[in-house]
Symmetry: C2
Amino acid sequence: MSVVAPLRALLFDVFGTVVDWRGGVVREARSIATVDDSFDWGDLADRWRTEGYLVPIGEIVGGTRDYEDVEVLLGRTLARLVGEAGLRVATDDLERLAGAWRRLDPWPDAVRGLTRLKQRFVVGPLSNGSFALLTEMAKRAGLPWDCIISTELFGSYKPDPATYRGAVALLGLQPGEVILVAAHRGDLRAAAACGLRTAYVPRPLEWGPAGPSPEPPDAEVDVVAADFEELAERLEAGDPTP
Amino acid sequence: MSVVAPLRALLFDVFGTVVDWRGGVVREARSIATVDDSFDWGDLADRWRTEGYLVPIGEIVGGTRDYEDVEVLLGRTLARLVGEAGLRVATDDLERLAGAWRRLDPWPDAVRGLTRLKQRFVVGPLSNGSFALLTEMAKRAGLPWDCIISTELFGSYKPDPATYRGAVALLGLQPGEVILVAAHRGDLRAAAACGLRTAYVPRPLEWGPAGPSPEPPDAEVDVVAADFEELAERLEAGDPTP
């Protein structure tokens, strides 16, 4: 007889899963920086995300780079990318643009889905965004989190196992009582390795309309849903079942 | 010319300031434990708060006692007090009663006042309750926090200066941009010593109808308000002014 603990809490990856970082960065860039209309801000957003976030965080988790605040990493990379592109952006505007990650909009289903999921479960982010960034983003975007969990609280970044374990411990729960919701397989695999359940919500527009198709879900994923409203339906219907 | 930073965030003491711990403990005790109706649960609640919380936390902050989780401290003291009172309470019921601190009701003005304050400021607890306790309490009681800050995040308890400084740093703010709201002078004095602004909201019923009168406010307190709705009025009107 297997005994499976009931699901108590949902933790969400944020950048790409809850909010549209590419669309938000492009929108802010166009409103802040007065440059040639033909400039490809989408391409700059993609490089910013990759070179200012994904790569250095991977190096930090891999132990080949010292920990730094995510907004420090992003700010430094933005300055470099803008310089390399030969853009002339005032320092004040550059600082404002660096803060765009605090002002990203949620995917259209996110607030409705989270509001529904919050009726039955504890909902919170588990994000590499800083505590201040996530708090400010939630307030502006109306994300109805029960609490804010940033990997900053553990002095590390996902996919370090310490971040998943730390989040579960903060909630006073067992790993099997918590499900990680993410649009990224690597995040879900790392959570599963720590005993959390997993929900895959692909976001086909994360890298823009011309971006790559989402990866197919791993067979081990507990729930797959097209958006947060379908996720709420699935969880209310009893998925994941033992 | 003095330049005073605008107020950005309000941090709240919780036990006694936001929620009525005594009333909640007595209510839960009466519903859980089947003992003689004449038993004075209010007195037990007072002793539980003092001996299982105030005294050991003071010792931990003072450096004469090792850090332990607040619910471990409370649970151990409850078992002792129940034993000393000669009460026969089943182990399951004792465990349920120990969890009463997660199910305390807010003072009548608290949810309305916080909802109003949340329109203009970041609002969050800064409490010696654990992160899990504060998250569960907020969900049950409908406290509309923007984030949960427990002193657990800093491995210490108020009034350790590290807790006030740590909370301000997590929010990415300067101390002068944050106000601590509390019904307790010691808490406010410790926050002020770290550069935070302070708001005193006395709670005359914290220790029950026969309890001591609230302490008069220190002259240094920035704002005094009778409840959270008056606090919202005062802050919307521009208090504290430079």
